[in-house]
Amino acid sequence: MLSVAGLTVRFRHRTGAATAVEDVTMTVARGEIHGLVGESGAGKSTIGAAIMGLLPPAGEIAAGDMRLGDTDLRTLSAAQAHHLRGKRISMIFQDPQTSLDPLMTIGDQLVETILAHEDIPAEAALTRAVDLLEEIGIANARARIRSYPHQFSGGMRQRVVIALALCTNPELIIADEPTTALDVAVQAQVLDLIRKLAETRGIGFILITHDIGVIAQIADRVTVLRDGKVVEQGDTARVLGAPEHPYTKALMAAVPPLDRRLRRFAVPRVEGEAETTDLTAPAREAEDWLMSGAGGGASMGPALDIEAITVRFTGERRGLFGPRESFVALDDVTMSVRPGTVMGLVGESGSGKSTLAKVIAALVHPAAGEMRLDGAALAPMRRRTRKDPSRRVIQMVFQDPYSSLNSRHKVLSILTEPLRLYGLERDEARQDRLARAMLALVGLPAEVADRYPHQFSGGQRQRIAVARALLSRPGLLICDEPTSALDVSIQAQILNLLKELQTKFGLTTLFISHDLAVVRQMSDDITVLKDGKLVETGPSEAFFDGPRHAYSRDLLAQTPTVRFR
């Protein structure tokens, strides 16, 4: 139905032109779900845009041809292309929060789309819209159709988005990361829906994603892209099960399995880093420095006990004199992290896992509860002074490597900051040496210290963030979704790094993630949160072998897995 041959897309830059997609050939049959997988910058989305005819002004199709049925997409006039959009090809965007016009009821948006392509009375359009909503599983659609997007939850909103893409019965739908912004549970539902639509309505899907799990779950065929080129193409089972190309192999190796815990990932040699942190001289120096901190010998991170922590956020006032709505982010959570071990903290978005981290890091003040660090009371935010020793002991690695480093400061000054702040090293030259040594330890060349953050890739930034954390000789390391913003191969590297450092320095670690597979790779113990309440906490392996709680079981079940062996 859709056939793309030798597609090449160029982008004009201030420094000449760059090829984003090169000689891509692929086909999508009716009812087929074609996975388009690859890491950021692989050109997946560009292909989608090219097919939609929605390349940004700077982009141009340099070669190749694209046909939908018997229509040549390249020869269409702007008007024709616009008419074709929605009518025959439609699209689903990543973030349901932003893909809907907030000022228009979903009904209007549906009807408008239908009327844009079909010459039928508005009532007919409306009834079809309602049916459609029913079909994609929105209860009581007749009433809900009059509501505004913000009145739907994320999952429901994504369903509406899909309904919008469907309402004109297109032949092809391009889904660009349709589930990335969703929790596993919702993701599973949405994926099922797509699957169903493909089967029942025979719509062809191009499923653009970075998540091999998703591909494995529903794609019939898959195209693996790298740097705009097709690396491998074929039936999903074949490509993922028995990859031929080394890149695909590496990719598969980097995907954290849910069913077992690897010692370490076999990572492909990408980016500039040393594969393992085989100890160069400076790296060893940094290591010694870290060790020396804890009175020599293999140090052990402190034990962390959390008791009955409750956090409330106060919101808008309800009525004129009504009370403020207050929302309970954490409800009486009790858990403890054994010294020198990794505690995995999992839960869907809004489950309060990050809030818990912030409470420990004194960024959020708990309404109730106590914390202890090695038995000694750990002061909550408002009572924790700036000079409190725990400030040094507890360090954090944030989710978004792009915002966690001050882009206006040189890496060097970012790294030496803790040394100065905690007075660990007074001597400037020594600070400099140590900072660079620490870079070596996290697998970055020393000279990068003189650059600015924006000159690094996400993975490198995350390494710098880790180095910064280490440079305050921490005992407790909090990792808040440290890899969820990274490509799978990079994720693997960072996970390796964290594992190594953790074992080497016996850091007590609180590892937060929404991805059970990742957590399994990292953690000795695991804690599950749901809507601010603690579901269960206990040894990790036991949990994965047989979760006690029903919710945990669903969570496990819904997490997409790659099993082709």
């Binding site: 960024l363 002074t385 989710q399």
Partner: protein, 302 residues
């Protein structure tokens, strides 16, 4: 520093392909240079009474019939050389504008930073004060301050302070812009992880605000600074027109225009139009630069 880096990369490139911006930059530089160097390059010193004579009064520009080679742009009713008056006037206007802008910047940014960083009660107070200020628009504030100072200060003191009064008035009417912008962007930055990290590490709030946040919000502030510089110049001119500006013996551009207004009809057009055109050109080019910067710092508009 951050600017420097911007300039050597993105900025310069965009600049190089934006003729308007280049032209504006050149004009601005020339004018500012002319103003700053006035004492050295101006043919005469309009402040020195003995340097001009009533005999030379109302001479037209050089190219006009009856023009005098000594006075390129003609003379005013006192026999002052227009060119010199304009250069000195521009000097004064720029001084007032930039000092006022500076005050507003420091005041507004520090308040905005603090409000955005600490939030809560402080934020509320600052913003309410800003509201009050907003309720009293620029010209009004300026007029009031002038009126008040007339009322409370003895006359000669007020005249000596006139420059200060005008500057303060303009500054007061400009600080809100900075405060609101600084506050807004601080809010954004404050929730970014690098600030959170700094807070978590227990760095001193002052250090966090100045070392961490400030450099990251310079962009929008710079834009406002440019635009406000322009509006400050205009405001000064308007105040002079309304008669609360500077006295005629130390004429700013605005004062020159006010004086020139009397000759709108009388045929001595140059007395009005020379300074006016000068002012407009100056302001236009500053505004153009402002636009350029705005686009520069707001890539989505590119």
């Amino acid at each position: 520093m951050m600017l420097a880096r911007l300039m050597q990369t993105e900025g310069v490139w965009l600049f190089s392909r934006n003729p308007a911006a280049i032209l504006a930059a050149i004009v601005t530089i020339v004018v500012v240079a002319g103003a700053v160097l006035a004492p050295w390059i101006a043919p005469t010193n309009p402040y020195d009474l003995s340097s001009f004579s009533l005999i030379d009064g109302l001479l037209p520009p050089l190219w006009e019939q009856g023009g005098d080679p000594r006075f390129l742009l003609g003379t005013d009713d006192q026999g002052r050389d227009m060119l010199s008056s304009i250069l000195y006037g521009a000097r004064l206007s720029l001084i007032i504008a930039s000092v006022a802008m500076g005050i507003a910047l420091v005041l507004g940014v520090s308040l905005g930073l603090a409000a955005g960083f600490f939030g809560g009660r402080l934020d509320a107070i600052v913003m309410r004060v800003a509201d009050v200020q907003l309720a009293l628009p620029a010209i009004l504030t300026a007029l009031l301050i002038d009126g008040i100072s007339r009322g409370i200060l003895p006359r000669e003191v007020h005249d000596d302070l006139r420059l200060a009064v005008i500057t303060l008035a303009i500054a007061l009417s400009l600080w809100v812009n900075f405060a609101r912008t600084a506050r807004a962007s601080t809010f954004v930055e404050r929730n970014k992880d690098y600030v959170q990290a700094a807070i978590m590490m227990g760095q001193h709030p002052l250090r966090i605000m100045l070392r961490h946040i400030l450099p990251n919000i310079v962009g929008p502030l710079l834009v406002i600074a440019t635009v406000d510089l322009a509006s400050a110049i205009l405001l000064e001119a308007t105040l002079s027109f309304l008669g609360v500006g500077l006295p005629a013996d130390s004429p700013s551009l605005g004062t020159l225009i006010r004086i020139g207004m009397q000759y709108l009809l009388s045929g001595e057009w140059w007395i009005l139009w020379m300074p006016t055109v000068f002012l407009v050109v100056l302001v236009v080019s500053i505004n153009l630069l402002g636009d350029f910067l705005r686009d520069l710092f707001n890539p989505s508009l590119r």
